[in-house]
């Protein structure tokens, strides 16, 4: 006669409990999803996968197996941002076939006041908004008033970038920093904000999806490094922001097309 503990008996009985078709489909679907993740683990990190002895069963209320969490941590470490807190919250505490995305740029859209002074100035320029006297005074005496965008004023970006580049030093990276702050880099991780998260493209947990996001993240990291260097520099001494505004104003052009369309009779 086999002797079982109460826990073993309960676990054994629960494995034989009849489930509804809906429950069975959900459980099988989760298993299939888990298999896809494990296959990716094996393909992306074969050595770590071979060494792993983490459990393959979902424990308690967890959504993922410990082996999957191990894979997510490796992904976060080597391929693309996948912080634990994102995995914990994404989305509605259910398993998901899509790779969780989180804004990794400078998302000031809801709390600009809490960001550093250089971010506030660059965001003001990127928005084409009016810089108040307080902001200009903080940069230093004689700071020009930035010409706002909109109406018939447009920024000649090539000219602005060229002026900054010719100035040399960290000034050469200001256009990159401005693109990052303006969420206009063309790089998903940097342009994404919590406001635009729902509208952004989704990537399935596939090799293609991971490769694409990892490539984007490589580009994003280079841009972020440059941006951080620029922001640290301007944080120590905001005076060069006056020159940034000067270059900005010199690169502003009148949009003749806009003027023509405005003067054209309707």
């Amino acid at each position: 006669m086999v002797t079982l503990s109460v826990d073993e008996a309960l676990a054994g009985l629960s494995r034989r409990r009849m489930v509804s078709v809906g429950q069975a489909c959900r459980c099988l679907s989760d298993t299939l999803d888990s298999v896809r993740i494990l296959s990716l683990y094996k393909q992306c990190f074969p050595r770590q996968y071979a060494r792993s002895s983490s459990p393959l069963l979902i424990a308690g209320d967890d959504r993922y197996t410990e082996r999957e969490y191990e894979f997510f941590r490796l992904v976060n470490q080597h391929l693309l941002p996948l912080p634990d807190e994102v995995m914990d919250d994404w989305p509605d505490n259910q398993r998901d076939e899509y790779i969780p995305l989180t804004p990794m740029g400078i998302d000031w859209t809801e709390n600009l006041d809490e960001w550093s002074f250089p971010v506030q100035v660059l965001a003001t320029l990127a928005m084409g908004a009016d810089a108040g006297d307080e902001m200009l005074d903080a940069i230093g005496p004689g700071t020009p008033v930035p010409v706002g965008l909109g109406g018939d004023h447009v920024l000649n970006w090539k000219r602005f970038a060229s002026l900054c580049r010719r100035a040399g030093g960290l000034m050469a990276w200001v256009p990159a920093a401005l693109e990052v702050v303006g969420h206009d880099t063309g790089i998903l991780w940097l342009d994404l904000t919590f406001e635009t998260l729902d509208a952004c493209p989704m990537y399935l947990w596939t090799q293609e999806g991971m490769r694409e996001l990892a490539n984007e993240w490589r580009k994003a990291k280079k841009m972020l490094d440059k941006t951080q260097a620029v922001l640290d520099w301007l944080d120590l001494n905001p005076r060069p922001l006056a020159q940034v505004i000067e270059f900005w104003n010199r690169a502003i052009e009148v949009n003749h097309e806009q003027q023509l369309s405005l003067s054209r009779p309707t």
Binding site: M18, V21, A24, C25, L28, L32, R36, L38, L56
Partner: protein
């Protein structure tokens, strides 16, 4: 005979339908025991005990099929049940044996 034909036959009161009703009962009585494929596979996996990742990977095509078949069967059964619920009750002209 499909479940939807059976429900149509059940609501028909014409004497010609009696034969169909007999066929339905005969089909029900002789129908083999069947468990939804999704439920069957889930129970099988549960009873198997801990599976290796490789076992699960090897079983993925089977799992996909079981989900597809299981959902299709669930929908068919659900549809038949809905038809039975809205069917007109009809008194039988004979005593069904075997129930």
């Amino acid at each position: 005979m499909s479940a939807s034909n059976a429900t149509r036959a059940a609501s028909d009161t014409s004497p010609a339908c009696e034969e169909i009703q007999r066929e339905v009962l005969a089909a029900l009585v002789s129908a083999p025991r069947h468990v939804n494929p999704a439920v069957a596979l889930w129970l099988e996996l549960q009873q198997h005990g801990p599976l290796s990742a490789e076992d699960l990977m090897a079983a993925s095509a089977r799992i996909e099929n079981a989900i597809a078949q299981g959902e299709a069967e669930r929908d068919a059964v659900g549809s038949a049940l809905r038809n039975l619920v809205v069917s007109q009750p009809v008194p039988a002209h004979f005593v069904p044996i075997g129930f």
